[in-house]
């Protein structure tokens, strides 16, 4: 259920251009909501807090719906139940690191240790 590296799409290695600024790169990966309660307020809070640590723009995509990863309100509009597959996209100078950190939150089930399998 975790991601596989070949699912990543990346632009070429970032190189400094003449002005010295890093070009933007977009990377993405699939994540699965595995905690039983889904992407409710607390996971959305953890996710937005993590996303705000990075300079890159971070978006979560649920089929046709996109949400700003740095906004709890937007994340909650995804109403992602347990089992939902989402795509995380990061664009910016620290996109890869951001993607890894956010993927880790999903993998760690947002630190929720469910005692039920009822969803």
């Amino acid at each position: 259920m975790a991601w596989s590296p070949d699912m990543n799409t990346e632009s070429p290695e970032p190189l400094c251009d003449a002005s010295g600024s890093l070009p933007e790169q977009t990377v993405s990966r699939e994540v699965v909501v595995v905690n039983a309660a889904g992407l409710h307020a607390r996971p959305a809070d953890l996710l937005a807090r993590e996303a705000r640590k990075w300079r890159s723009r971070i978006e979560l995509v649920n089929e046709s719906q996109r949400a700003d990863g740095k906004s709890i309100l937007e994340l909650l509009t995804l109403a992602a139940e347990s089992g939902t597959r989402l795509v995380v996209e990061a664009t910016g100078p620290d996109a890869r690191e951001a993607l890894e950190a956010i993927g880790g939150l999903f993998e760690r089930r947002f630190n929720e240790h469910d005692d039920r399998q009822d969803s």
């Binding site: 307020a41 959305a44 309100l73 909650l76 509009t77 992602a80 139940e81 009822d118």
Partner: protein, 158 residues
């Protein structure tokens, strides 16, 4: 899910008296008791459970909005209410701003999907700044009820 699926109109409060986090949660839970949505004997347990949830991280989600909530075995369907504080209440919100608009939810433990859909509805509707502002400025509970009905009939039903 629509607001009318979970908001008890008789429990809506347009001017909460409380000035603290615990106070507003207690006032809203009491409003649900008065509306017959939760049993008086469950009040204390529900208030404590909501406060315990707040200890894990504030449900003040920004924009002057908070969604205090808990699961509780005493309810068979999702129940909730809305309250407005004129002055705003320190809720240890994520953006640090005082909270004026509260949506309190109590859901059955075995229905995480309903809770998610209620959160989805609240957060989607509140992206509309005008809607947010009008709710905070509502003079009477019935004004809030009408605003929610309007959002229900114009919004996308999910």
């Amino acid at each position: 899910m629509k607001f009318s699926d979970f908001v008890a109109p008789e429990a809506i409060r347009s001017h909460v008296q409380a000035s603290s986090k615990e106070g507003v949660i207690r006032e809203m839970a009491q409003a649900l008791v008065d509306a017959g949505k939760i049993a008086p004997g469950d009040l204390e347990g529900i208030v404590k459970a909501i406060l315990k949830r707040e200890d894990l991280g504030s449900t003040g989600i920004g924009r002057g909005v908070a969604v205090p909530h808990t699961k509780h075995p005493s309810v068979s369907k999702l129940v909730g209410t809305v309250a407005v504080s004129r002055d705003g209440i320190d809720f240890q919100s994520l953006d640090g701003d005082p909270v004026q608009l509260f949506f309190l939810l109590v859901s059955p433990p075995d229905r995480p999907g309903d809770h998610l859909r209620a959160l989805e509805n609240i957060s989607r509707q509140l992206r509309d700044d005008g809607f947010c502002r009008m709710l905070k400025a509502a003079k009477e509970p019935v004004d809030i009820q009408h605003l929610l009905e309007e959002a229900d009939s114009h919004g996308v039903v999910s």
